[in-house]
Symmetry: C2
Subunit: 112 residues, 2 copies
């Protein structure tokens, strides 16, 4: 999966991955890997900065915990995050419909 393609859509997917309940970064990676049948395999260098960005934006809140001797930062959707998620989903529907329309284009040529 070429990197550029993802631009602008990552946040929506991260929020969606947290919709089912709190998750830490590593678990988000796995959740997305599972829900996309292995197609989306995000590097840690992508996910951790992105989660910070979402936290700073107030869309998720993080809290530290220690499980099996390993520290985790669990993230949870805020109300604003839930709202943002539904907005992003709508955006995606619009966007994908638009691109699909552009790719289907005009069956017959209408030359300038």
């Amino acid at each position: 999966m070429r990197g550029e393609e993802l631009k602008g859509h990552l946040d929506a997917m991260l929020l969606a991955a947290l919709e089912g309940g709190p998750r830490h970064g590593y678990a988000v990676i796995e959740a997305l890997r599972q829900s996309t049948g292995g197609k989306l395999d995000l590097p840690t260098g992508t996910i951790y900065p992105a989660l910070r960005r979402l936290e700073q934006a107030g869309l998720i809140t993080g809290s530290w915990s220690v499980v099996a001797g390993r520290r985790r930062r669990d993230y949870e959707l805020t109300p604003a995050g839930r709202q943002a998620l539904s907005g992003r989903r709508a955006d995606w529907r619009d966007f994908s419909a638009m691109v699909t329309a552009a790719l289907e284009g005009n069956p017959w040529p209408s030359p300038a």
Copy 2:
């Protein structure tokens, strides 16, 4: 339409806009505006550099002409461009299926 969202998908749309026959940059903008019901309204600062990039990549070829006293650069798909277009269309189908899957996610929580 936020700019970042488009990243990586613009080339496919430009190639698609040229599929019905040669077009110059300005006409490509209008073609995409029409085929997307006005949703995609590309600025000239986006389209002209992008067409250059595609030309340099060998996916389209351009030629100057003068119509009604105005000079135009008409672009046409090369065989490589047609091949690239069908590849990009397939990429888009995969990509959009992946994002949709990620956004639908898991209905019930499966906490880590």
